[in-house]
Amino acid sequence: MTRVLLVVVGVLLGAYGAWLLLSRQDTDGNIATGTWLVAGVLLHDFLLVPVVLVVMGLGSRLLPGAWSAPVAVGVVVLGSLTLVAVPVLGRFGARSDNPTLLDRPYVAGWLVLAALVAVVVVAVSLLRSRRGAQSGAAPEGE
């Protein structure tokens, strides 16, 4: 059956990876790898997601109905792009002997992006609240 076959293949691929991981490095390297493997999940599951849930919860409570969806979309887009950009925003890998590396105005770029996202969010929200008022129905949401 397809599923059983897939499980077998998957376990073999994963086992090869585990063997590569454990056999090609010294203990210190393995401990460092293990730390990063575990830290990533912990930070995501117990910090990032709860923060996102709290922010989203607050947003839907405090914002007018027409605003909550556009703001949520804006937060997802800008938030995930900001995470992607952390290494360049901090320029942690910059080297004084190499001017061709990390050679853009990243913070200015981020500000432009944030401004664009904000403009779109505000424009869409205003449009939605006007449409809601015109149709006579109260905007949905709490």
């Binding site: 691929l13 991981l21 790898t33 990063w36 999940v41 969806a69 995930s80 792009l81 002997d97 992006l113």
Partner: protein, 387 residues
């Protein structure tokens, strides 16, 4: 709300966005991204292997540029996708184990697999993104570890797909707003529709690519506000390792510099002037770095095969290229026979009609088609043919 804070259960998450109908749709594209990144990663790993039972092809010259560009692009696009996917299925994390003993065993194994997949997936995206920006805040070997964890991730992904196959199939056949597989508590309409969340995810993934890919796709250069390299550099090509970092400034500019070409007992020594006096060829070849950036250049210099002929080297022999650089993993490289014999493989003296800058490898550097940038040895001082 207070009980939800104490001990969340899946029922604590009431948004109707927490649905397999959403997770399956994001999951498909996440799977595609991981699949492409895995395959292109294998290609890159093999291209850097010293031992290649099946010779890595020298054509097309832009092959590695495309595969490694795709590797970094799909990995970057996967970041927003993974975040949304994990948020969507987050309530499952708080599911209580079943009472039936046999089911518990299966459930535990499945949870372990999911844990491995999430942990390996996050690890790959984080270390990959940091590596692209040349930030190494860890104490393990990046290349080996990223490679090994990729096998773990792809294995766990295949198992995950096998476990979820019926529900994936069902979810994809049905409408995105179908509630068949939803948790009974997940009914609250929070304002964003499921289609809205999916569109948001595609937009975030697309923007992640547009804002970074200019480092390898010249057309996107102006849009890539988060690109690690603007693309500027001497001769229009950025630099990975500078002469200062390689500690070769003195030896590379020394008047006593010479290149030695050795094949067994046959050896010749050439100064840069003597290299310039040989037949010069010009080739348009890309520098394509493992970190995902690339740029095409017009290189001029001596065809490597012409140098090998000076010492009577037979065809199809591996050639060791040594640098003036005294230390570092890439101070030398092994050029496989098919690369050494390719007419486009040069010992370049010029880039874009100007003498090589010292950071690009003055007095001369190797440039071969379809080869990872780290193996395009700079500041070449020895060429040794395997006997």
């Amino acid at each position: 709300m207070t009980t939800a804070l104490k001990a969340p259960t899946p029922a604590s998450f009431t948004s109707r966005l927490h649905s397999p109908a959403v997770a399956a749709r994001v999951g498909v594209w996440l799977g595609v991204c991981f699949g492409v990144a895995f395959l292109t990663g294998l290609i890159s790993h093999y291209a850097q292997n010293v031992s290649q039972p099946i010779p890595f092809p020298t054509s097309p010259s832009w092959g590695y540029r495309v595969t490694q560009g795709l590797h970094v692009i799909t990995g970057t696009a996967a970041i927003p996708l993974l975040l949304v996917k994990l948020w969507t299925v987050y309530p499952k994390f708080f599911e209580r184990p079943p009472r039936n003993v046999r089911r518990v065993v299966v459930e535990v194994l499945e949870r372990v697999n999911t844990g491995l997949l999430v942990s390996a997936g996050i690890f790959l995206l984080v270390t990959g993104t940091l590596n692209v920006a040349q930030w190494y805040p860890w104490e393990f070997s990046y290349r080996r570890t990223h490679y090994a964890v990729a096998w773990v991730a792809i294995g766990a992904l295949v198992v995950h797909i096998a476990v979820k196959l019926p529900i994936i199939r069902d979810a994809l056949r049905g409408d995105v707003d179908d509630t068949t597989h939803d948790d009974p508590a997940a009914t609250r309409d929070g304002g964003v529709s499921r289609r809205g969340l999916l569109t948001t995810t595609w937009v975030a993934g697309g923007l992640a690519v547009l804002t970074t890919a200019g480092s390898t796709v010249p057309a996107l250069r102006d849009l890539s506000i988060f690109g690690v390299r603007s693309g500027d550099g001497p001769g229009g090509i950025p630099i990975n390792k500078s002469a200062v970092a390689a500690d070769v400034t003195a030896t590379a500019t020394s008047s006593s510099y010479s290149l030695s070409v050795v094949h067994g007992d046959n050896a010749v020594t050439l100064t840069r002037e003597e290299l310039s006096a040989m037949t010069q060829r010009t080739e348009t070849l890309p520098i394509a770095c493992v970190e995902g950036w690339s740029a095409s250049g017009e290189w001029t210099g001596v065809r490597l095969r012409d140098l090998l002929d000076l010492v009577g080297a037979p065809r199809d022999r591996d050639v060791a290229i040594g640098s003036l650089q005294q230390e570092g993993a890439f101070r030398d490289s092994l050029l496989q026979g098919n690369f050494a014999d390719d007419d486009r493989t040069l010992l370049a003296l010029q880039l874009d009609g100007e003498p090589l800058s010292i950071d690009h490898g003055y007095p001369c550097r190797l440039i071969a088609p379809n080869r990872p940038g780290v193996l395009q040895t700079k500041w070449v001082s020895t060429i040794e043919v395997a006997t």
